[in-house]
Subunit: 228 residues, 6 copies
């Protein structure tokens, strides 16, 4: 499932983000690469345990916690504290599959990476190349969004960031453990939720079919969701 | 799930059934009881491998094969050839749970008993007592239907036929393996199917929500059904 | 599964509850209703974040935490802090299905509503009407218990509180996430636990079948339970 | 999963197919449309119970039964006897989701539609429009293949055939019940099978990792496959 | 699960088997080996499509079809027609895992190999070496049984036949698809069945706990069994 | 799965453990036995809520938290604070199955006992008897390891400690809830992890099959793991 969520950050928030990020101390991404990633990762990252990564990350988490489209699509259980990376000219991240389990920093909690998220922080015309490329059952899908927009994609997929040939690409990225592990079940719930909303408008909230289908939504969710 | 299906057999069919059954050779039910049932089963049965059991059973099977309410509720995969029993005065069948697996006579096929069915062939005023009593999570449910009506109940339940104190009770009984094993999933499908039918009438067959919910029905069925 | 647990609160506790509740500040239930419930909910509720709701709720939680019948039947994983409602004349709560997921107040924890609980705090002869009505596969079940008794019912069910025509009905209500999500599995465990207890008495704790069936109980629980 | 299998039919076979199909008696597709499809289906179909549909269908089935790529990707359990359709100018089939269960003609067997297949029998330059369009989580995917090539796509997807604006489009279409119902499990098996084949070549058939991974393939298949 | 079933064949049956097998035409086992097995298989086999393999195989199938211990332990759904092999001096079958799916000869049916069976047809003192060695989570288990005895072991295991250093080892081998795929579930059912039998003897068939546990057995079987 | 992990504690750590344990205040094991265990448990235990149990337990937990073989085999989610027991002459612990769920002391957390662990703290030649005996599908397995070594075994198994006939046996024991509940899935992951490591060495970390199989490992883990 490739889900685009637009305007996660507004223009003024983006400007503030950029000010902090342009002044930040970017480090080689190899530092935090696992043994397999070390061979394919050529980019820069912020130190997650320092400012401005902490504050900017918390700002994103707070924004998402009350974002209906994100919640309905992802049914988030745990969100990894957002990380930040930067690709200058010739930098790239080769094809890889994200690890399944991650320790959430400064906690003893483990997160299962059901969904991967990239929140774009530079505009598409600020750099050439740098597409997020996701191998899917339908061939490669290339993603390059306006600053402030976010893409969610299944962490099961092989993906890469193609080389930046000009300019600089800055983004935040993180992972989500969903209360509903299975992608097809999440899709069915998302569709049913949408139907209930349309019928609430068209037929009314107390129409018997609105009530019945709303009950079905919750009973399916009860059968499929595992809050941690 | 206690599902009542009315008028499975019509008056003229019932009359024909009764003519055959009144002339039939009823045998002691102990003959076909398993070791556990032998202690609690006190009734009469027809020999399934002889007429009229074969013809009457086939008539029921043929009727059910094109009965929309039965099909939508039971999603039948295999149906056991209907059997026939008869309770005269003081006869009864004590509390028991039906066996999980049955060999279908004259075949090598096994049937998992997901649903038990009783089709009443005598009218309630022809006998006293003889209720089918099903222990449920909501207490005992007593069932005594007009001739021609059928009840479906989960084969997982402890059930009994209380003693007939006057008159004669004749019924057909059999089991169904459903394509959808889980009772709660069958119920959700049944409700969603009903919603789609109402919306087809109220909003039309090509309304986007009718189409979307019909697709959801089939995708849930695809996820849950196992045809044998 | 409709499970009645008697005497959760004793006479003296009930008296204390009533003293606090009669003095409490009851608010319109619409305040906390979701958009769908708003249309069908006509009752009064206590503010959960204030006394006496907090203390009374904690008292209930503490009582349940060492109540063997409750634990064996519900296998509780998380319990929502008990809420309190009150129906005066003509008040009612129309048919609805409870939401599948709830944020536990003052925590970041989510609770899946597997079971709904109503603990009656007024005696049946203090009011007319006001039955808790649960739509089940076996038809509507009407529940009205002595003060101090509690009913557990599956949160999947459509339920309502019929209008109070005279007097006042006060109750506490809350939800339980069970370690064993599936209702049929919980029932099988409950039955097996009961069998082990009977055999311990009749055959002794070291009889090979007591040991073997006790092991089976724990191995089924291991296969089915997900502690959060 | 969108899987393209090339050259299912060779040039000489295609020529024979075309000779039979051009002489065949094409009927309105509405005849066999269900109540929902009736509104969106505007094409022609062969009568499945007559020649040449029977012979051509059997030829396709026989070809697929020994086609390694098809078998490895689909893990077929049951295949619906191929059907044939024809779109002349302005004909189209609107967006729909295929039914989940189908009775296999002339048998009592039911088939669960896990995969839908379209085998193209006319060349892309013989008609304009007529793309098979599949709505996926990654947006609409348009498919138009050379004659003799086949596409497999998940039957869960909303799909359509866009209007033919010029020429004639002839294809065979059918459904497959897979031994492995879940699409992600089928994909993992397909990838692991490919790895084992590469390692057999690179490291040899008796290399310990070839043996171990081949064993893993079969043990996953054992856990996931349900032959009917 | 390593299950030994003794005396599947009696002395007189064994003698008849040996007479036929000693006269039979044994062929190189490589003929029927898959590409991976070809490297490790060094033994002789009978042609399954000829006598005496057909008659002897049918005899074994008929014996097993009414063997309570075999049925209770394996809950067989499909049994592969027994095959026969022979190891002379220096012959051996290296470590391998059996394929997950097999076409049953002369049918269109597929069998999932849940259990592998070896029925020993020569006495342990007729040959040296030739142990069936099964790698388990508890280390290698070596099996060499009296003629007429059979071992069932999980087809998931890596196993081998160690070289025969003297004499001749003849055995029949085949596979079983169980109605209950999961080995731990089969074990729990087997134990519960044994408990019910003991309690039937010690407490009686109508003792409430015998009835309740017998019902639990059937309800677990209903939840777990998939007849094909 | 019987997994032996050698050298969990080194010689100097063992010496320190022994100094503390020899001075400790050992209590009768009956004190902490459940009602069933009370009949079969005859040994001594440390008070878990006192020193030295707390410090030694924490030392073990810390050692395990960075032990790759333990982590890869057990995929630990929660570990029970290690307990310590001591068997003097004639002491023993009869056959039992460990309880499925345990409250972790001083927390509100529940642990599902997927794996049981025994860490031996006395050398095999310091005592006679005292084997940990695990009933498996392959017969009883007797375990007696050097001091500092640990065995992991499935908590589903019936196990005992045979009587110590001479000397003293001291051990630590505890339980593990795994992120992957099913033992066969854990085994498949363990094998696949080992294959990826071998291929990383033999073919390199960026060889396409190393990358693909590493991705498969993480995708299987994603499908099977439930972090609490
Ligand atoms: Ni990545
Ligand atoms: Ni019955
Ligand atoms: Ni409610
Ligand atoms: Ni279609
Ligand atoms: Ni083999
Ligand atoms: Ni123990």
């Amino acid at each position: 499932m490739l889900i685009t969520i637009t305007n996660v950050l507004q223009a003024n928030e983006l400007q503030q983000f950029r000010e902090h990020l342009d002044r930040a101390d970017w480090q080689s991404g190899v530092k935090t690469a696992g043994s397999l990633a070390r061979n394919v990762k050529h980019n820069q990252q912020l130190d997650d345990s320092q400012e401005p990564a902490i504050s900017l990350g918390n700002h994103i988490l707070k924004t998402l916690s009350c974002h209906p489209a994100f919640i309905s699509a992802a049914l988030p259980d745990r969100i990894y504290p957002p990380k930040f990376n930067r690709y200058s000219e010739n930098e790239t991240y080769g094809a890889h599959i994200d690890g399944a389990l991650m320790q959430i920093p400064t906690t003893h909690l483990t997160l299962r990476t059901d969904l991967s998220a990239t929140l774009f922080l530079t505009e598409p015309d600020e750099y050439e190349g740098g597409e997020l490329t996701i191998e899917t059952q339908y061939g490669p899908q290339r993603v390059k969004l306006p600053a402030g927009d976010m893409v969610l994609y299944p962490s099961t997929s092989l993906h890469s960031v193609s080389p930046v040939s000009k300019g600089v690409r800055i983004a935040s990225f993180f992972w989500i453990q969903s209360m509903v592990r299975d992608i097809q079940q999440r899709e069915m719930l998302f569709n049913l939720d949408s139907s209930v909303q349309v019928l609430t408008t068209e037929l009314g909230a107390v129409h018997p079919e609105t009530v019945r289908l709303s009950g079905l939504y919750h009973n399916l969710l009860r059968q499929w969701a595992t809050p941690s």
